[in-house]
Symmetry: D3
């Protein structure tokens, strides 16, 4: 039976940190569904369609990655996609506590298990919110965003 | 290719918290090697043979679990057993920082990836050191130790 | 002299975690005033009257619990109700730092002392905000909310 | 029924931080038993008799404080003294996690409840281990140690 | 070459904690630029002009302190003022993680180095947001705000 | 007046993380005294003479760095060398709390101020204790140790 993991987030935008987590997660599971959560009450920087396009383009040569948007509860969307797992990265102690509570609730709700990969040291200071802040001031963000031109991901 | 994860620790003794992590980890990987690290400079409570026996007995009906002792570097032992992953549980913020540093070093040394499962809420206060403390004062520890009499683990 | 503790919060809604803290706090003090803070600038999920009714109903057989709403500074409301103490629960490291700062300010302002009970392990992942999130998606939240039908609380 | 709290520790030595916790704890409970834990495997700086004498002398005019030494499990000693509560102070995030785990185990073992007071801001950097370090280098530690000459404690 | 440090913040209002950091920072660098960040999307309590006046008045006898407002990216404003350093205070673990990420990004962007002073123990619970909360309820905040009448700062 | 900072530690061994802190600290102060603390009760891996030699060799072309060993209290040794500051790096939340307490005590003892630089992201997982662990198992540690062959440090 295929092991599918949901990788949920806002991805506004998708950073090199997110990209690293997906690549490393593909070693552990058979398929990853990158799931862009739509939150009507929160203004986003990039429209959801643009985020979908950018991430799909990044993984266009990786058959084991699907990219979807959703506006339901994360665990419900996980089940709908066939995912029995949720993948999350943790950068800081603050992330850790937040993720642990959510993961405990999700497990209690319908048995979905969350597994964690540590963000790599060189990416721990990078977050979508910092990238948006740099964009607002017209800064070059290419060091923080994965480049679509890169080689196809390794098949493990 | 089989996904094998090493679950290293001292397991002095193996607690219900460890047991829960192994059961949940088996959902995610094909095989788990429980690896008892031998540290000559640290006095243990239970001899390593007793720990090996107890854990092997617990998983005697679970073909996907192996139990070994080792006195080499953890990443070297992982490779030796065929494991490309290390599984660890995290209970607290303090655990988190310790595990992140070790995982970052292990990845840099030879590419072994560590994935984390959160300890379940009802087990976060249980540790081997607390169990040993209770044993020293002759307390009943059966609530903290998995019972060998239990049903065979589910095959996922 | 009676020892009275204020238990302030938004309680939007009151969870099993809050209920456990009140029951355990009643062992330590003679009376607890559950105080619903009204914050005009923050939209609540349940109207304050509904929260007052639900909590009062829960403690209708417990003479040592009063339930009030307030829109003044918490330490001022404490003095007004005769409380010399504030009771708070702590679930996480993040809670801890927030509560410590508030408690230090309150002590400096007028000598009100804050005491802390740890949230029980099985409740640490439960918060009002997670319950509201589940409600928004039409989920069953009965496992997170105390049931009014329960037995009268023990008199200690 | 009298509310008695055990205040356990090594108190090697008893600092101004400990003294502040006892004084503030006496507002909340009727009696405090300061309990010096004897740990044979750990070398102490001051002999236990000297610690007993110093703390007893400090509270000689405070009838609501008892000072005892013990070498059993803390929760067992609590019951033996009639204490249904354990009082602990928390200075840091690291303390918090340690205390939470111990408190959760103690509650599970025999229902003893732990309540926490925050160490006051001006004492958060003071610990017995730092005082011992200063003593080793012949430093004046009078600012860190409560003075026996002080006024009798307030009766609350 | 003069060592200049930028001390950026919202300072809404400037507290005794901020004042202590500036005084201590002047021991380490030759000049400090207190930089009030203007954030159009966030409503401030005091208008920026009032904050500029109050802080300038406080340091009117200290030639090594400049006070400016800015609405650009902090590292860009630092370069514009000639500052090669950013000074920040840290009060809590939560502050620490936030500041570390920002500092790592700033260093990567254009080599600006951030150095940290610990907030003194007696100020760790004081923040601008707590002062604003007290102001909203008409409380006396003089203990939290530096007094302009004070002596000129020491020249180091 | 020259600004001198003490950089105290065990440096058993001196890592690339320590080296980065010294280089960055030299931007902020005029001189750094690397101070190897001798602790008779703790067994070291490298003898103190070997550590002195290795670090002195590393900075042989940097006139602004001195390397010394000491067995007195750190603040006393700081004054003896003319240092009014202590420089420390912080990698983790756990480091942060430890360093804050020590810094608060040092400031109270004789006014020595501690300033902090954040360990760079690519070094946060590197510590002397991890390097010693690798050495015990005969691993190549050259990636973790600064190379003496490197270029003279920049004079700022």
């Amino acid at each position: 039976m295929k092991r599918i993991a949901l990788f949920p987030g806002t991805f506004d935008p998708f950073t090199v940190g997110h990209h690293s987590l997906v690549k490393r997660g593909l070693e552990l599971v058979d398929e990853i569904v990158i799931a862009i959560g739509i939150n009507d009450s929160k203004q986003s920087y990039f429209p959801v369609e643009k985020r979908l396009d950018a991430i799909r383009s990044l993984y266009r040569n990786e058959a084991r990655v699907r990219v979807e948007a959703y506006d339901s509860l994360t665990v419900d969307f996980a089940l709908q996609t066939g995912a029995r797992f949720i993948l999350r990265g943790i950068r800081t102690v603050n992330d850790f506590e937040y993720e642990k509570n959510i993961a405990d609730v999700n497990r209690q709700l319908n048995g979905i298990e969350t597994f964690i990969l540590f963000t790599e040291p060189e990416h721990t200071h990078i977050s979508s919110s910092i990238v948006r802040e740099l964009l607002r001031y017209g800064k070059d963000i290419s060091a923080f965003i994965p480049q679509t031109e890169e080689q196809p991901l390794n098949k493990s």
